[in-house]
């Protein structure tokens, strides 16, 4: 009996619900239950209340929120002028500089932190540049430890806001601005009272992503040794997961704050696949600049680029510096390639590359299958809950990686307590974290793939699929021979992005991978950075490799998606 299309869609949606229930809702439910339940199963708010009574934890939460707010504000201050310049004006070098603005995305910030720590060292290059390198120097990070974190995160995250703002600005109907100008409004008044309100959804969308990301970032504060911040305080308690309810209570509070931030942005955004955004009815032609006007337009790009590339340059220089030779000098006094050779022969470095490649590939495959299902339901089906399924798939953006990772850890430890030796090895995250890492990566990167696939399906006329069906092709044949080839570029682009970011996933890797044999790259980099002797240099060499890989991946995705690339990073 051939099932109706609606029935097929319903079956797919049930499978998706099962996926989300097991791999998304269960870890969160586990955390919530441990955070609100006594040992004998009674409801209690004591643990959460204790969190708010502990000044250290309150300070950690305060620091996390304040740092996230400052990072987001900085990103906005950087991205808004750049977006206006790149969309509304044309000048020599605009394309190249615009592309280079995405450079920060190619370096995981916690790797950049390695270089920035050296740059801002008491006797480091900045101190030397300011002429203070001869004496006792200046302890930038000792006095302004949080400033290092804010700098690294802001310089990494502003491209996300930039992409959102550029898309929003491109969609603004220029006739509204022209009308305001014709009524006598100055350029600044037009921007303030017409343009800004129209691009507000883009601002909030980008800010939401930025603030949640920064609020829950683990790797960067770890690298700076900044322990009074919630993600690090959660990480410090992962060995206490089995019995101590306090880590769960802390994770619950973190989750509530993150979801609140996400919903706040979503309320202001209110976008769906069905409704069009405020698309311009007339194309807005950029104004051509020449002479010193063009030079002045390039200047902010060059300045931001120079600052944004500081972490990259410092990581490269660290990877090439002879041990201990970057001291009281602007650049290392002695260079060497020995750390790259050491990375190739190190028992931790390259095996972690293999591990990460395997985990990321498997995760991408899982995410592709699930993402295709979500895309088909959200774009092609008429199910009443298609919006809900779409929202579920986007929820990993709101739920911090550290929360999900903690949830998987808690599930595994709980299963181990219940089943003891009977527990299969692959369910024991402390023995073999592969399955949990793959699931964590897949869940966390699912939004990228859903975005990419949904964009492809929206652009693909459904008529072609209907025509094939009318000619007798079965549903799988239509999918295989019509739909998938037409959205192939989107599939590849989404897969590339998901693969690359899964490869360099930080929170999940640090929390779930406890056995050296299973370390992914990011865990290996953290371990190496704490190794005495040449560890930090090998970590930098591995970081440079990661940077190159991400660069090529982003270029490939950009080539395949073209202007649609920005849609991947939007809420």
């Amino acid at each position: 009996m051939r099932l109706s299309q609606r029935a097929v869609h319903r079956l797919v949606s049930l499978a998706l619900y099962a996926f989300f229930a097991v791999f998304f809702l269960w870890p969160i439910a586990r955390i919530m239950s441990r955070g609100f339940e006594t040992h004998d199963g009674h409801l209690t708010f004591e643990y959460v209340w204790l969190i708010f009574q502990d000044p250290r934890l309150v300070r950690g939460m305060f620091n996390a929120i304040v740092i996230a707010a400052i990072v987001t504000l900085l990103c906005l201050l950087i991205a808004l002028p750049l977006a206006v310049l790149s969309v509304r004006y044309e000048f020599p070098g605009r394309g190249f500089l615009g592309g280079m603005m995405l450079a920060p995305l190619v370096l995981p910030p916690f790797v950049g932190a390695i270089g920035v720590r050296l740059l801002l060292g008491r006797l480091g290059p900045l101190t030397v540049l300011l002429g203070m390198g001869g004496g006792a120097g200046f302890d930038w990070l000792g006095r302004f430890r949080a400033a290092g974190i804010i700098l690294v995160e802001a310089l990494h995250l502003y491209p996300i806001l930039l992409l959102n703002l550029q898309a929003s600005l491109a969609n603004v109907d220029p006739t509204l601005e022209h009308a305001a100008a014709n009524l006598g409004a100055s350029r600044w008044t037009v921007f303030r009272r017409v343009t800004l309100p129209l691009i507000r959804p883009g601002i909030f969308a980008g800010c939401t992503l930025t603030v949640i990301w920064s609020f829950t970032e683990l790797g960067t504060p770890l690298m700076f040794g900044f322990n009074t911040i919630t993600p690090v305080q959660i990480f410090e308690q992962i060995t206490d997961v089995a019995e101590n309810p306090l880590p769960f209570a802390l994770v619950v509070v973190t989750l509530v704050v993150a979801v609140t931030l996400y919903l706040t942005g979503k309320v202001f955004l209110g976008r769906s696949y069905d409704s069009a955004t405020t698309k311009a009815s007339v194309a807005s032609a950029p104004r051509k600049l020449a002479g010193w006007h063009a030079a002045a337009a390039c200047l902010p790009f060059v300045v931001v680029l120079a600052l944004a590339l500081l972490p990259h340059v410092s990581v490269i220089l660290t990877s090439l510096s002879a041990p201990g030779q970057w001291y009281r000098s602007l650049i290392p006094r002695e260079f060497t390639l020995a750390h790259y050779h050491a990375a190739l022969t190190d028992d931790l470095a390259i095996p972690s590359v293999t591990n990460s490649a395997i985990y990321a590939s498997l995760a991408t495959a899982v995410a592709l299958v699930v993402g295709l299902g979500v895309g088909m339901i959200a774009v092609r089906s008429r199910l009443p809950d298609r919006g809900f399924i779409d929202a579920l798939a986007m929820l990993p953006l709101a739920v911090p990686g550290i929360v999900l990772a903690f949830g998987y850890l808690a599930i595994s430890v709980g299963l181990k307590q219940q089943f003891q030796q009977r527990l299969p090895l692959w369910l024991n995250v402390q023995e073999m974290p592969v399955v949990f890492l793959v699931v964590a990566y897949a869940t966390r990167r699912l939004p990228y793939i859903v975005r990419s696939i949904a964009a492809g399906l929206q652009q693909t006329p459904v008529d072609l699929e209907l025509a094939a069906s009318n000619l007798g092709a079965g549903r799988m044949a239509v999918l295989r021979r019509i739909t998938l080839p037409l959205i192939f570029a989107n599939l590849i682009a989404g897969a590339l992005l998901a693969f690359a970011f899964a490869l360099l996933e930080v929170s999940d890797s640090i929390i779930l991978a406890q056995k050296e044999a299973y370390y992914p790259i990011t865990r290996a980099i953290l371990e190496l950075s704490q190794r005495l002797g040449n560890g930090i240099y090998i970590a930098s060499a591995l970081g440079v490799w990661a940077m190159l890989l991400l660069t090529i991946t982003l270029l490939a995705a950009n080539r395949l998606l073209g202007r649609k690339m920005g849609a991947v990073f939007r809420v």
Binding site: T38, L50, D54, P55, R56, L118, G121, G124, A136, G137, D139, L141, G142, G225, N227, E236, T239, D240, V241, A242, E243, P245, L246, P323, G324, Y327, R328, L344, T345, D346, L348, I350, V353, T354, K416, Q417, Q420, Q430, E431, I492, L496, Q514, K515, E516, A517, E527, Q530, R531, L532, G533, G535, I536, W545, L548, L549, I552, L555, A556, R559, L560
Partner: protein, 524 residues
């Protein structure tokens, strides 16, 4: 076609970037211990030791076992964090097993936690934390081998292996054995010290110098047991000074003097003196790191002028950057020399038990002991970096050729060492220290800055003395330990919640103390 080729060439490039390093790694070769012949025999060890130690011993043990027993054995390491993290993890695992079996551990051959041994973390941790949990197996070692390795079972009063006896006084099989010796000391950057106009520190008290304000790199004692042990040395030095003074001013045999109540009062005062010194050192900290490898890195990089570190961390860093950037010294007659143990976990049985015993045999052998201290490239030495740890087997000190460092703890130890009977407060001290130094960091720094701004040096010294006189006594801590033990035994409260509450209470008490002293600076 060309456009499509161009697009997908990126994918080929990505594949090349992933496969290339793996191929290069295989071509260049690695230190994979399982490489010779391949093996399914695997020993799983949980340890806080750094990767350099794990790598060298993994490779060396595989080679040694292949030669001696005909098959290589791979070592697999679990590294959940510092010693406290390891203890928590093991406690959790075994508690779950006990809960599932009516409160008792089943016979060993019915237990399989997936971990065979625990290695590293200090003798106090093994003796006073892990052993009482009942999770360390008796090690069936040949008593002759034990005598051969340890002709003297103690070093300046510190036991080099577990030496429990039965009711008849016969020695029981040890539940832990020292694998090497560790000491703690001061690391400092001579170049930065010169710039700051400070003489190189030689004693713990030198680190209390206000000129070191915001220039010391220290580790969090709740995460790093080596840091905690170093801090305990400062307290024990204070207690030893008080004891020495007491013996000088009272007549009688030591045993009689120790029975006097005034003796305990003197020790209390010595304990307070040590706590005061630590508070002033903590006030000079830049920050407290979770990792005990951070202080040597900070000092060598010039971010900190000095810090406290375990011996081999200091020496390895000194070798990497040179003595003008980082020098390690062990404060004279003020630092402990203690064993770094290994033990077999309850539940390790059958083939795994056999392999575990082989690993202990290797660790105690001359090749296993020399690996700690030989230079890279020496026969039997490490492949990459000298580990620079002190062997515990006395006989290897007869021939020190090829050693990275020429020292002998057996000669230099004497007079002062860690006193087991004075470690009674150590179990709760890390969280009390953390409450004062880390939780109340802002209040402590504010008070210190205000005091250092006082013009009158006498008033300044008096305020510093008052600041460092924390409102906590040895008796307070002893009572807290008793309460903690009671709660653990009778489950009247959740122990984790109780500890968290206690730390909160200490932090509030200390914060009030710091604020009170800060207010007294108002007169100038």
């Amino acid at each position: 076609m060309n456009c499509r080729m161009g697009k997908y060439a990126y994918i080929l490039l990505i594949a090349a970037m992933l496969i290339g390093p793996v191929v290069a790694h295989a071509v260049h070769g690695s230190g994979e211990a399982s490489a010779p012949g391949g093996t399914e025999d695997r020993l799983i060890i949980i340890t806080p030791d750094g990767q350099e130690i794990r790598n060298e011993y993994r490779w060396a043990f595989a080679q040694w076992h292949l030669v001696k027993y005909g098959t290589p054995v791979d070592l697999e390491f679990l590294t959940p964090g510092g010693t406290a993290d390891i203890r928590r993890q093991l406690d959790t695992i075994y508690r779950a097993i006990r809960d599932a079996h009516g409160g008792n551990l089943p016979p060993e051959n019915q237990v399989d936690i997936g971990i065979d041994m625990v290695w590293g973390g200090g003798d106090y941790e093994f003796n006073s934390k892990l052993k009482p949990l009942g999770i360390l197996q008796p090690i069936q070692i040949d008593p002759n081998l034990l005598r051969q390795v340890f002709p003297q079972p103690t070093l300046a009063g510190v036991k080099l292996y577990d030496q429990d006896k039965d009711k008849s006084g016969n020695p029981l099989p040890p539940r832990w054995i020292g694998a090497c010796l560790s000491s703690f000391g001061i690391i400092y950057n001579p170049d930065l010290c010169r710039s700051l106009g400070i003489s190189p520190p030689k004693t713990w008290s030198d680190l209390t110098d206000p000129r070191f304000f915001a220039s010391l790199s220290l580790a969090d004692p709740t995460h790093s047991s080596s840091a905690g042990a170093a801090y305990m040395m400062v307290i024990q030095r204070g207690m030893a000074d008080a004891e020495g003074e007491f013996f000088r001013t009272h007549t009688g045999k030591p045993a009689q003097l120790k029975a006097m109540p005034q003796y305990q009062t003197a020790l209390d005062a010595g304990w307070k003196l040590g706590m005061s010194r630590l508070l002033l050192i903590a006030a000079n900290a830049r920050y407290f790191s979770d990792s005990s490898t951070q202080p040597p890195s900070d000092v060598a990089g010039g971010d900190a002028a000095a810090g406290m570190a375990i011996d081999f961390y200091g020496r390895v860093t000194e070798e990497t950057v040179g003595p003008d950037r980082e020098t390690f010294i062990a404060p004279r007659a003020a630092t402990a020399i203690t064993p770094d143990p290994i033990a077999i976990l309850y539940g390790c049985h059958g083939k795994q038990l056999e392999l575990a015993n082989h690993f202990i045999e290797f660790l105690l052998s001359e090749p296993g002991q020399r690996l700690w201290i030989l230079k890279p490239g020496e026969p039997g030495g490490p492949r990459d970096l000298a580990l620079r740890r002190a062997p515990i087997r006395r006989s290897v000190y007869r021939d020190r050729s090829g050693w990275a460092d020429d020292f002998d703890y057996f000669d230099t130890a004497g007079g002062f060492n860690q006193r087991g009977e004075w470690m009674g407060t150590f179990s709760e001290l890390p969280s009390i220290w953390a409450a004062a130094w880390i939780d109340d960091r802002d209040e402590l720094l504010d008070a210190t800055r205000r005091i250092l701004a006082v013009a009158d040096p006498n008033h300044r010294a008096q305020l510093l003395a008052e600041l460092s006189n924390l409102p906590v006594t040895r008796g307070d801590v002893t009572r807290e330990i008793a309460e903690a033990n009671r709660i653990t035994a009778d489950h009247s409260e959740d122990p984790d919640v109780w500890h968290a509450t206690q730390r909160l209470n200490w932090a509030k008490r200390f914060a009030a103390h710091f604020a009170k002293v800060a207010a007294e600076t108002a007169g100038g």
